[in-house]
Symmetry: D2
Subunit: 388 residues, 4 copies
């Protein structure tokens, strides 16, 4: 066995939330390709997400995006999800697609626009109460394209004020997680561009305000696992948005671009106490499947996280500490590489089977006829996408 029993035990409780929007169409500013079987309703997105969980037992919850997943009855939506074996998770606010937000939302100079954005978050909190969601995730597109367009300092102060009002509205078991992003859609300055800003803002709010780390939202060359270690140390790592990138915020399948980086990130998560039943760190995907099949793409993603977690859990930490103490650079690095290069796939496949799951979840999904079924059924209507 390459994978120890202890590692398998620790993998049992792994949960990676899926974003409902991963099942809708996505693309670039140049083109969004549509695909047969794409969901047209929040319910259909949830059904697809539940299917990923059915074949992997890795994704027991689904994040929703408001207003993309607006429905009349959220309790009913939650019940619908539960019937499919998943729950509704993080509620993601959207203040970047209304014309009013052209020059900002929570940071806007105009108090009316700011209040409109705050109210949207109040609505999201109401939805959280209906769905039982624990986390309100805020990613802001706020920023400017040209020097002088906005007042960087004033916007930061207004952001603090707006976040304070939203935070005050949270229920006592609810959290606010603030995501940062290096750039895009703003091309000169972004109001929450780095972990330091998110950390400073959420620290000013209180204990239930946390940082969300999206693995694709950093400057070139940034050591992301350092940020993981630092935020865990500071008690402020709230959640992950997993994906991967070669260039900017490419939103590719997690682990596809630099698997060794994913390994190092997960290693620091474990090292810092961010993994396991006692951790409050939430893990979710935030990817686009622009050119690949969506459901298999999400299955591949959660398996990538599972497999890499198995590798990271396999690091011989006792030997590693000894090598570090001895100043044995090659030895210490070798211990990390040994775990990374271990092929955990056979053991994990067997373990999955032992738990009543398919050894090869993608093959099982393909054999299931689900894709053919949704292609046949989901005809007419408007396919969901970022603008839906």
């Amino acid at each position: 066995m390459t994978v120890s029993a202890e590692t398998l035990r620790l993998l049992e409780s792994q949960a990676i939330e899926l974003p409902s929007w991963a099942f809708g169409n996505s693309g670039t500013r140049f083109k969004v390709f549509s695909t047969p079987g794409t969901p047209r309703t929040p319910q259909e997105k949830i059904a697809d997400a539940a299917t990923v969980n059915k074949f992997t037992a890795l994704s027991p919850s689904v994040a929703i995006h408001i207003p993309w997943d607006k429905v009349d009855d959220y309790a009913a939506l939650g019940k619908y999800a539960e019937d499919l074996g998943v729950t509704l998770g993080t509620v993601n606010s959207n203040t970047f697609q209304d014309d009013a937000y052209k020059f900002g939302s929570l940071t806007h100079l105009d108090p009316k626009v700011r209040q409109m954005a705050i109210d949207h978050h109040f609505d999201c909190i109401d939805i959280m109460h209906a769905t039982g969601s624990a986390d309100l995730k805020i990613w802001l597109a706020d920023g400017t394209n040209y020097p002088g367009q906005g007042d960087i300092r004033g916007r930061q102060d207004r952001l603090a004020d707006s976040l304070g009002k939203i935070y005050a509205r949270l229920g006592e078991h609810q959290r606010l997680v603030l995501e940062y992003k290096f750039f895009e859609p703003a091309f000169y300055h972004t109001d929450v561009p780095d972990w330091g800003t998110s950390y400073a803002q959420v620290s000013a709010l209180g204990d239930r305000a946390m940082v969300c780390l999206d693995t694709g939202h950093h400057a070139p060359g940034t050591n992301i696992e350092f940020i993981v270690a630092q935020l865990l140390r500071l008690g402020k790592l709230g959640s992950f948005d997993f994906n991967s990138r070669f260039y900017a915020d490419d939103d590719l399948i997690v682990g596809a671009a630099d698997p060794f980086q994913l390994f190092r990130i997960l290693y620091e998560v474990i090292r810092g106490g961010g993994y396991g039943p006692d951790s409050t760190v939430a893990f979710m995907l935030d990817q686009c499947n622009n050119v690949e099949e969506k459901i298999p793409g999400q299955i591949r993603s959660v398996l990538n996280v599972q497999e890499m977690t198995a590798r990271a859990l396999s690091v011989d930490t006792v030997a590693l500490a000894a090598a570090q103490e001895a100043g044995d650079v090659l030895g210490a690095n070798g211990i990390m590489m040994d775990a990374f290069y271990s092929d955990v796939r056979t053991d994990l496949a067997a373990w999955r089977e032992s738990r009543g799951l398919p050894a090869d979840p993608i093959a099982a999904f393909k054999a299931s006829g689900y894709q053919e079924k949704i292609c046949a059924e989901r005809v007419g209507g408007t396919q969901a996408g970022w603008g839906a």
Copy 2:
């Protein structure tokens, strides 16, 4: 006078082609904001471009994009432009918005799709004959998102083959310019990612195949003026797409992000013989005005190029050569900075007036009532955009 008579004389013939699509709506994958007065037809775009030229005498031609600017009668379209004082310039092909091109166009594995893309270029050449356009510009979105998705090497060979067929179809006074781009919309590999690839491909075609340099299409930190100098030296700099960027292909107003870089680029253009009546280098803009006014944005852009050209023409090249020969690093650099820091704006305003142009073209445009007129007139219909 800060600006010499010789410099003014050299500025007289400056021409910066405008892209018709700059007047339509643009945005990011997150949101495209619409604006009152946005053109709904190729004619309206041309009218706006002609307006920029009317106030600046800097943009006597308009590039068109096929199929975005498809009309039944291109000769009539050319006549329409001429009546407004401009001509139709570069024809830009578009092989990135048809579903068939999901996995490539000129590089596609399927010969039928390749032929479809080649045929599109044949159509563009036909249009060029009708409009009298000299340049066929090819920017390809071709590439892949994941390692293994495509065969990098085979795609390059197919690209060469497809380009060969297109090149063979050119009229004897027509050119093919091949644009390169670092990344986007492809996120793993791009088939023409750098100047070296474009250079190798066009060199294999012949004398009338040239490289197009878009200032926003490089890896972080790339010394763009070096590439300008190199391509001029190799006789292969066909044209420029001007814009600016802080991060990726941000498509901001040229000169807005790093004006000193624009200065250095224009200095090397002049140094290498790429400026002036004897040069065959074509200059055009390729920008998006996502959040700013479109016509004033284009006026600002051509003025930025004009002003920076004036500064670059002002470099004391005799003194510079002497300082370089003497190994006087600070002296040589100081000569460059002197030209860059010279405020040419007052002199250029006066010179404009002396030529019957407004001293302040943006103010003159705003006072002209043109914007109010198009806002009133252009109601109904579909605003032009990247998907129009």
Copy 3:
């Protein structure tokens, strides 16, 4: 007059500290070129720095580096400086050139090495008492080259502990400023890689612990003026190390690579209250003059900061606020660009003369015979450099 009387008044108190090591030899890992006249002692470095101040009245203090500037009698060294019209400023600790620090200093796993590094800082504080220096600046080379080589999290905890001991030793009018750096000399992880880490560490120490921002120490594309605005807002911007870069930590002359960036940085300094007699932000240079003349290089640098400060002070902030309120992107940006493109050099030259300073400090220095004098006098001995 391009430069207003108010701007000139605000420029009067500008002070930019010079680093003593800028006058010694520097270079890259490939080669350090030596130059005639290079100082061999701390006194000679101070004399050169005082010369820069003599011709510019911009650099009334000199930062020293321990052990590079170790002397027996620091009070005497301070007196020596005063006699030349300057004072001794920031004391920079050096824990990166002793063999003991191969695997870290304040973060080292071995408590003996940590104590050695802490003791070195205690020595620096003693020197500060002797020289009257206010700031202890800590830049750490600590980090690792390979994943696994060190324990990122543990190192951060040890760093906090070490800094706490040093902070406790400070006199009540002394400050600790902690510099961050993206990478180099460590190539996998750096223990203080970003402003967030520096901010989190100094926040844990107390009011007199601040962040030092070196303009060359960021990831590609980082919006540095945003960090300036943020740190000022958080009350934690202690000091600047000015220089410029095209690629990594190139340590070029401030303003040489991207003058517009320097303008934006200084604009946010002013906007955030970081400039002027009431500000506690310390400004200094930290550059290498690898291939250019050293004293003129430093004169050029302080003049660059002065000229750019004049431009930044010239921004019409009332009009800017109005344009921002109106959502006039081009107008707001234009107000910034107007100030940037204003040629302040003639006015500043006249103003210098009015204050008994040379209009052209570099020319005056060259005419002074100082360089010839030091070339003749400073023969024999060992030229100062980074290892001196």
Copy 4:
């Protein structure tokens, strides 16, 4: 068996040249740490390199650097190497450590300095005749730190002229390989900054002039395997300098920073015909072991290349082509990942033993007593380093 017999057969002829300078001390501009047992002579470096080959059978030749490895009798040096089971390989010229080259070597404005640099290459060619070396490798530090310091265009022309003279001197079985590098030690422009420049320059020379690709010499985010594929396609990939980097030219152990990138590079090497007995592509390391043990560091490096080559050879290219043809993005990517995640280490260890080599070459080296022996013997004298 994870590794097929065919793969093992193809691995038999793998050869990775070692650089003599890897065994000397190296470091950063901040500090070079010395280590016990470091060679003091070219002979001692060769002995260390031969030791790596003894334990791995992967490094049958040693590259030398002139003047670092200057000796009176190169034929004798070659004989010395042969007695240790290795040959002398690539001759690397050095035109960056003489004071005369402060402002350039082959590109220098002064014809006398250019001739001096050319003569140095003539000397290198003479040495190649004596040693039987096939390749003259030219890496130039030439470039400038400030805009205006040099004439980019003129320098390029002079480079072409100088290279032409050197190329003309080559023996008919000798090659010139021209290395490019993004930046460092020059911080504004570098005369051979990218593969396009190297390609254009060597194409102008002739068939025996080729490009050298150093894996650490690219802009952030560059797709290196694309360049590999392109250069192989163009018939101009002469050689590799293997190393790895997180940031700039970090010169870390090959495969240490991004093992998946190394996999993709080797895959394209194989795909393009660059691997195997018929290929003329030369593979060598160019790394620094700044903080790790040098001989084990080099052993680790060649093993990394061997193991990753085994993975790259294992790609099921028939299935891959089919998946590509079917537009099966996830399937195609999965085939690549399957090969990458295969754990080839056990099979390769067994295969090594079957060939009379140690299963674990690093452990065998450590047990051999070689390091203790050289530590004891190599006392006194000057340790070799970049300046030696």
